[in-house]
Amino acid sequence: MDMAGASGGGIWGNQEAEARPLLSVRGVEKRYGTRIGCTGVSFDLWPGEVLGIVGESGSGKSTLLGCLSGQLRPDSGQVIFDTRDHGPIDTLSMSEAERRHLGRTDWAFVHQNPRDGLRLGVSAGGNVGERLMANGARHYGNIRATAADWLERVEIDPTRIDDRPRQFSGGMQQRLQIARNLVSGPRLAFMDEPTGGLDVSVQARLLDLLRGLVRDIGLSVVLVTHDLAVVRLLADRLMVMKGGHVIEAGLTDQVLDDPQHAYTQLLVSSVLQV
């Protein structure tokens, strides 16, 4: 890159802005009494990056995700998010109003069970439109058009915009949940086992869809799963957790093809081959 002719400050400023992680996690710890939920977790998530977190049940994956997304309060540590307006801020020091605002604009949370993330008594259009309305949209026609557009993007027939999620199949519910979360154009998504409980062909379609969306809108994702195939497909980097500790981290292919830690080796070799 030729820097010679440029007026130094501006260029450097921009570069610094680009070279800043979207989410910096430092020493996050959460305990349940004397038991460890997760401890000593630190990592950086860069814009457009997908970070997979794998581990067995009870390894602290979901606790960690809860701490990062503001649903649980960690006992110590920092979760620094690069906000649009004010730059990097520790989300744990934010007021609840600010955190909720973040939660409906720049953040998304996809639950394993779509019933946890959807309003089952409200139509598909209403589900997708809720974030828009929460962010101040007050034009019915525009809200509906955006909702229909997003249904199409997640491969749901837009003529079903007035149907309740209850009438949808499991895979459709999950895709609806994704549309409902991404409609506000978030920069960071937390996903807790987004493909759990779906059959394999539906899983494959969902993964395909997710991969496309992540690439299209440059979304950063923290993805918790126990399914190594899912992280192989979606994740750029991987963290392996056991007993609340991060025991191995690195590029996904690196970790999966050349696992160093004994537990990771066990995990990788436990996958059933067809």
Binding site: E96, A97, R100, R104, R119, V122, S123, G125, G126, G129, E130, R131, M133, A134, N135, R138, H139, Y140, G141, I143, R144, I161, D162
Partner: protein, 277 residues
Amino acid sequence: MSDYNFAYLDEDTKRMIRRAILKGIAVPGYQVPFASREMPMPYGWGTGGVQVTAATLVPEDVLKVIDQGADDTTNAVSIRKFFQKTAAVAVTERTREATVIQTRHRVPEMPLTQDQILVYQVPIPEPMRFLEPRETETRRIHALADYGLMQVRLYEDIARHGEIATSYAYPVEVAGRYVMDPSPIPKFDNPKLDDCPAIQLFGAGREQRIYALPPFTRVRSLDFDDHPFVASKADHACAICGSTTSYLDEVITDDAGGRMFVCSDTDYCAEMAEGGA
């Protein structure tokens, strides 16, 4: 008079309720919890309104009680008698003569004045009750003014019926802050809440909540830019007084489809019929 303390409630209780009312007036639209008492009438009959009225009444007051606009229905008659017996206050059916008006489901047609207090009976004070079942969560929504959910309810109405079909208990935003349930008044009455010179108090007995609108408070009915709020009523004139501007009740007169539309506000109708019109 009788062995009752003035207006039935003991003085400590009235003081507690007055404190809740003052707090409600200080924070317009905010639901103030209060220790609702057992009243000698069933829940749903206006126990909240009666307690608020009891705490507001002074011996010089002139009380009017209406139920669905009428002064002569069971609920109105019982509550009026209750206060005649326990407080010995003067009563009236005339809106302009009353100083305290307790109402169920209507706002009088006659414009209210600064010398009046309007007390509403409220069955469900929480406007988001059927959208969000957790009271802890609705309180948080109010605290953070995170009202997207309220708009979803209106969205669903339009999606299902082509227009905002909510016709009573239509949610309002108070003074640019709290979203409030105006009690089950028809949405025709919503504009009367806005900039009203009278003090408006809302009492929910079973739910133990009091909220209030101070005089001249801005009250805006929620809506969409392309589906604005419309204060609708039956498209007829009153069959008795001929008024075309008052809210009408539909009365079935026989079993062959016969019906008539009459003013729901009986006092207003009588006055118009006497020669006001």
